[in-house]
């Protein structure tokens, strides 16, 4: 099992003082002596700062002068300067993968006081690193060709922003949206906190810009059905569902809706208004075209009614349109599949959504909107009366691990404050009461906005949870407790708005399965690192934007979308991706094809090649984490330059007296 060293390697060891960082705890003179005596090395030298220019020059000159073919720099963590020394060695003509770092700072000087023992430990770490470096093989970085085109999944504000940014950077983008228009939830909102900008007014310019952008290919009524491949080379199948209306011919004359006999709830208006089976989601929809709702239209197989087709002068309507499968390749993917709101039907204590005057925050947005079912006049759904008292219930179904969502959705405090404030603007003599647990205003100008509502605009804030809402005549009796006064509170309200939280959208769940993205316990997409890699998924080349990874407000969503776009653009920017070659390799002679590695690989980098019946590593996907090597029950997988035999030799060197 022991690998024969075919030839003696000329190892050079460079020991860094790191100013006093290392030198005050490690006796450098003694260490150099020991390394010379104990180990079979060609050259040992020290320097005050190996990472400095003189230090690097020492490394380069010594490699050439002494003909070194292996180099160890005993200095700080390899996370810090491994690239520095590897590129210096490369400049001197040495393969960079023949340079190793012996960490004698973080692992020695910073954690020990006893100079003698620290010096001894430093020597052992160097000895162990020698065992690695003499086994290292020269490697070349992998070159992965890149398809310089991006896919954005989801056409809400996050997807729109990401697509625009990538396209503005000069790359082609395909944006796939499930519904007939882009815009997402933001298109449903009335005004936005804390500036009270009209949501549509700030969103629609971006929608138009997207539709006109020469680099953006917009696919609405479309879904991603399969994704294969890896960073730089994703092969994606998209199903474009039939719209039954030719986008190019439709002139938005609206003759069709007048004759359509089918009336259904309008989802854009949260079911608070009707629409026809042929409709345009909202006037500024992009693409600007009517669409037929396949599920309810009477014209699609069997053809019972064709009234719209009969009146359409431009002959835009085609009942025979078929789904179309589009296959395209992409170099990077941005997932912006957004959220759904927590259904008020789940909340039993607030009537399971059965009372027409107990509505969700998103419902209330529609009542506030000028293009909503009430043209922006606040009328309650049951009888159309203008409500004189409105209760806003914060944390409805949130922060309630026993029964509902355990987490805080971050935006509800602010949108409820906005709702109350806007209501006060519209109904001057009305009373707005907000029941809250605590008001969370962590955002720029958010606290000021809350103060304005509470102090200047007479919005009443009651600290306490609403326990029950029951019908009382034509009003609602809201029962709760004021925890500041320690008293039970009962309020008669004409309308109750439940500030429900955000949950992962159905699309987010579907995409996570399709792309094999991991989710957190709540079902939101998991970031590669919650702090340092917030827009990256664990899979290289797939990025996350917006609420798909958790509740966010609009500014945060837009910032994240731009971040994801920038990350995607860095991949698209080059024709080839360079990847670390220290990846897994499978020995087919001992591999039993047990599939263990396929299961443990977090990157989808290992698969069974059915043609040859062998376990195969997708080199472009492998991150070199070593999970497969540890799990492989037949010991057939090893990382390049980290063989089991080498690791054993390193451990032995560390443990030897």
């Amino acid at each position: 099992m022991k690998k024969e060293m075919d030839e003696k390697k000329k190892v050079g060891v460079f020991i860094c003082h790191c100013g006093r960082n290392i030198a005050q705890t490690v006796d450098i003179e003694k260490l150099m002596e020991e390394v010379r005596e104990k180990y079979d090395v060609e050259f040992v030298e020290d320097n005050m700062y190996m990472c400095s220019d003189p230090g690097q020059n020492l490394l380069k000159e010594s490699i050439q002068a002494k003909n070194l073919d292996r180099v160890i720099v005993a200095a700080c963590s390899r996370d810090m300067h491994e690239p520095t020394f590897r590129s210096a060695a490369q400049e001197a003509g040495l393969n960079p993968y023949l340079v190793e770092i012996a960490n004698i700072r973080e692992q020695v000087s910073w954690v020990h006081d006893d100079k003698e023992k620290a010096t001894e430990k430093a020597s052992k770490i160097i000895g162990s690193t020698i065992e690695k470096v003499v086994r290292d093989e020269p490697l070349e970085p992998l070159q992965i060709p890149v398809v310089q085109r991006a896919l954005v999944i989801g056409g809400g504000i996050a997807g729109i922003q990401a697509a625009l940014d990538i396209a503005d950077a000069g790359y082609e983008v395909t944006l796939v949206e499930k519904s007939p228009t882009i815009g997402g939830h933001m298109a449903q909102l009335a005004e936005t906190f804390p500036t009270l900008d009209c949501s549509q007014c700030i969103l629609t310019p971006k929608m138009v810009a997207l539709s006109r952008h020469p680099k953006i290919n917009l696919l609405t009524t479309s879904e991603v059905v399969s994704v294969e491949g890896y960073v730089g080379n994703f092969k994606v199948q998209i199903r474009k569902n039939p719209r039954y209306v030719d986008v190019d011919k439709c002139n938005l004359c609206d003759d069709c809706t007048a004759v359509c006999p089918v009336v259904v709830h309008d989802e854009y208006n949260q079911g608070l208004a009707p629409r026809k089976a042929i409709y345009i989601p909202f006037p500024q929809a992009v693409p600007a075209s009517y669409v037929i709702d396949e599920a309810t239209c009477l014209g699609i197989d069997p053809l019972i009614c064709s009234k719209c087709k009969d009146v359409c002068l431009v002959e835009a309507i085609d009942f025979d349109m078929q789904p179309e499968i589009i296959e395209e390749e992409f170099g990077a993917i941005v997932v912006a599949t957004g959220y759904d709101i927590y259904p008020i039907e789940n909340i039993g204590e607030y009537g399971y959504g059965s009372h027409p005057d107990i509505i969700s925050g998103l419902d209330f947005e529609r009542l506030l909107s000028a293009n909503g079912p009430t043209q922006g006049v606040i009328r309650r759904p049951s009888d159309g009366k203008i409500p004189k008292t409105v209760v806003f219930v914060h944390c409805a179904g949130s922060r309630d691990p026993a029964k509902h969502l355990p987490y805080c959705s971050k935006i509800c405090c602010m949108y409820s404050t906005k709702h109350a404030l806007q209501y006060k603007h519209l109904v001057h003599d009305g009373t707005a009461i907000n029941f809250y647990i605590d008001v969370r205003t962590a955002g720029k100008d958010y606290e000021e906005f809350y103060k304005r509502a509470a102090e200047e605009e007479q919005v009443i804030y009651v600290r306490g949870k609403v326990s029950e809402i029951i019908e009382d005549g034509d009003q609602l009796l809201v029962k709760g407790v004021d925890t500041l006064l320690g008293e039970a509170v009962e309020v008669h309200a004409d309308l109750v708005v439940l500030a429900t939280g955000l949950v992962p959208s159905k699309g987010t769940q579907e995409i996570s399965h399709l792309l094999k993205l991991s989710c957190d316990s709540k079902g939101f997409l998991k970031e590669a690192h919650p702090k340092l890699k917030p827009v990256e998924s664990a899979l290289s080349g797939i990025f996350i934007a917006g609420t798909a990874s958790g509740p966010k407000d609009i500014p945060e969503t837009v910032a994240q979308a731009s971040g994801a776009a920038a990350k995607a653009a860095t991949i698209l920017a080059s024709e080839y991706l360079e990847r670390e070659p220290q990846i897994a390799q499978v020995d087919p002679t001992t591999c039993g094809v047990c599939h263990t590695c396929i299961h443990v690989c977090p990157y989808g980098a290992i698969y069974l090649d059915e043609v040859v019946g062998r376990i195969t590593v997708r080199e472009a996907l492998c991150e070199g984490c070593g999970s497969c090597a540890a799990a492989c029950p037949s010991g057939s997988i090893e990382l390049k330059n980290s063989t089991s035999e080498g690791i054993r030799a390193r451990i032995k060197a560390l443990l030897q007296g």
Binding site: M1, T589, C594, H595, H599, V600, A630, A631, P633, S634
Partner: protein, 332 residues
Amino acid sequence: MNKLKVAVALGATCAGCDVAILDLNEKILDVIEIVDFVFWPTAMDFKLEDLKALKDGEVDVGLYHGAIGTEEDEEIAKILRKKSKVVVAFGACANFGGIPSLTNMPYESKIFDVVYKESPSTSNPEGTVPLKETEVEGTKLTLPGIRKRADSLNSVIDVDYYVPGCPPMVPLIEQVVDILRVFVEKGTLPPKGAVIAGQDTLCKECGRTKPETISYTEFLSPQEVKEIDPDLCLLSQGILCLGPATRSGCGGLCTSMNVGCRGCLGPTDKVDDHGLKMISALTSLLDVEHEEEYTEEELDKLIEKIPDPLGTFYRFTYGVSMISKLHPDMEE
């Protein structure tokens, strides 16, 4: 044609390996054609003196089965080495220490207590234990001393070839016979250290289909599974099977009977510690997608379902395992 002189010696063994040779059935006649057994105490009337009487190197092939459990086993192994040109470790015990090496767990001073006093089926009110020397009616009787550990053959002598298995399966023994025939006819042998079995693992030859990814949520004994799917990977049905970590060569004898592999062929060339590798693989496979949701207590409960972890993962290889070397008795 000169016949090969073959000696079959044994140590701590159940003699199943001897029976395995006889399991060649009519093929044993081919063996007799090329082989002269100069020592095989289980099958014929041989005494150790007969082996000692042979000249050094006179035996062409010496097979040894059983672990090195007693001082006498070690002595026999050394004599066999001296007398044989080629020594073959035959069977799991000679290869890895085998089941006898599980006695390395309770160390020497305790093993007699466990076996002669504490085991539930033992009635020994006087607490009699075997002694190296006993006086019986004026005669001194001796027994071989028990070693501190039951070890593999190669821990006491140089071994040329390895035939694992408990016992080695007929196809493997046939391979040995073929090698012997080539040796007789051409005088050539495989490279030293060769293992006469497959190079890869049981999964390759078990024949059950595997789901693309294997995962399980609990360990079950075969009798707990309502209906074992005869075509589906046993592990994915929750039945503990050491197949993924175990060398191929048996053709899936156990798995074809709905019994999980016990690992008698040991690990592949690439692996030092059979049990550790299997534990590493198994823990990696456990309900990966939800592993973070398990509490420590739930995990403990799962592990409790493995009745005898050491005996399960190291049934045949404890003697050569890393953990057996951590034993307190081994500190000197």
